[in-house]
Symmetry: C2
Amino acid sequence: MSERPHVPLGPGVEFDTVRRLLEQWGPHARGTGDDAAVLDVPVGRRLVASVDTAIENVHFRRAWITPSEIGYRAVTAALSDLAAMGAAPLGVLVAFVLPEPWRERLPEIAEGIGMAVADADTLVLGGNLSTGAELGITTTVLGHADRTLRRDAMRAGDHLYVTGHLGGAGAALAAFLAGRAPTPEHRERFTRPVARLAEGQWLLAHGATAAIDISDGLAADAAHLAAAARAGVELVLADLPLVAGVRARDALASGEEYELLVAAPQPLDTDAFAAAFGTPLTHVGRVVDAHPGEAVVTDGGRRVAGGRGHDHFQG
Amino acid sequence: MSERPHVPLGPGVEFDTVRRLLEQWGPHARGTGDDAAVLDVPVGRRLVASVDTAIENVHFRRAWITPSEIGYRAVTAALSDLAAMGAAPLGVLVAFVLPEPWRERLPEIAEGIGMAVADADTLVLGGNLSTGAELGITTTVLGHADRTLRRDAMRAGDHLYVTGHLGGAGAALAAFLAGRAPTPEHRERFTRPVARLAEGQWLLAHGATAAIDISDGLAADAAHLAAAARAGVELVLADLPLVAGVRARDALASGEEYELLVAAPQPLDTDAFAAAFGTPLTHVGRVVDAHPGEAVVTDGGRRVAGGRGHDHFQG
């Protein structure tokens, strides 16, 4: 790891902390001792890079989840952006902002990060430690691909699919916010999301062209795709794959799922997907010429919800 | 830019903010509209990656420097890690944590970031926006190199050099902390450091083998090199290149300089360096067999300071 020590922490304390992190992560980290990590992008592949931040009391509350789950979730959410590109991971850089009261919990946070990179079959390549007033984990993910899934690639007529089951993360969040304990299954969906990395690569290889990972909720993320492609999206409420105990309308709005929503010009082999990954790939709608930039949800042919997306990247 | 919107900000506000940032940066940013940036590492080159965080009241205080300077300094400090590797920049990802009162100053922060990437002849490739309680800027730098300068590569007998002039950043910090206004020159060294990117590549090409960018102060960073190489370092106090108005002993401890300290087995051509970059390259000492892991400072042959480094990366 490279880091820049600061007065409040002191080089000695910081270096000892980094050494302990590297020892703890063992084969799941690569500490080079240099100012930066050096690695190879496989020949013929492009570099894919993204960054994501998790902040206490913005993305999670300490009362809801354990330090290990905080680490797991922060890194998995970042890796999910690689999944949405159909990219394979090269590794992650993790920049911590650690208030003094959190310092003694760092080994637990690191434990969760180690599990997340192990589950994604990747490595911690570097990072940074800083003091600060609130806990923050900023994860940079590096990956590679020869071509990628895109947000703007879907076309009218495309089929829309989602991976996994939706609604668990939102149900857990609703329970947390109401002061109730979520069911174990819902809690698990919130605390241990899955970055669909192998799934994203499979989908790209098998004909998917556009994808987004579901962070704002299926309906909102479908609208983002619609806006990027300037096409309309129609989702069929009754077709949504639901986590047990979740209503379809709640699943539409359930954010931080980190499942993939993909578009494909030809039908995808959902049986082969399920056999390969042990989780379903479900047809949930179509891309249409009508209402460009909007995602409409139908139930029995009637429009029951709709929203306009944000095409925010054409600057 | 890829980003993950959060409830307190709202997708619309966040997307509008990102669009404005991309417009503001113009040719100094590349917004892909996707979940991640996709770029090419030149054939035959390795990827070099590092991350660095700047937090309000840890790395700077609002009363000291302008929002533009905060942005400039944060990104330049991160780029400096590429310089210390002898790597060429590919671009940066910038993750902001923005408290509500800072939101209206974001264009000014972004202005400084735009100047920093322009000065480094590189690009903003992506980023993230989050709310939070304190301003934070986490910059991931991506670069490329065929081989790199290393922290652990110096050997007894090597010559030690530093780029530029030392002490200005420390003098400015001392003035700020004492409630005084620093001199314009000292202030400029604190607010507008230089990432010695071209210099680092030149030094690598011309025989330097080990390097570190000066963030903790020359003496401390020399000790870090000494620890990594398990060799001793001797710095000659009278030889230090000083910013006007700074004493040599203060320059030794002046941190956040972002000048490079390099080791080379053979003498480097300091005239050619100065001609190429308009800033000096100064011989400041030698690597020795004695006192391994320690950086000693001599004045008239007498030891006047010494400190042990941290070999913190061998975990």
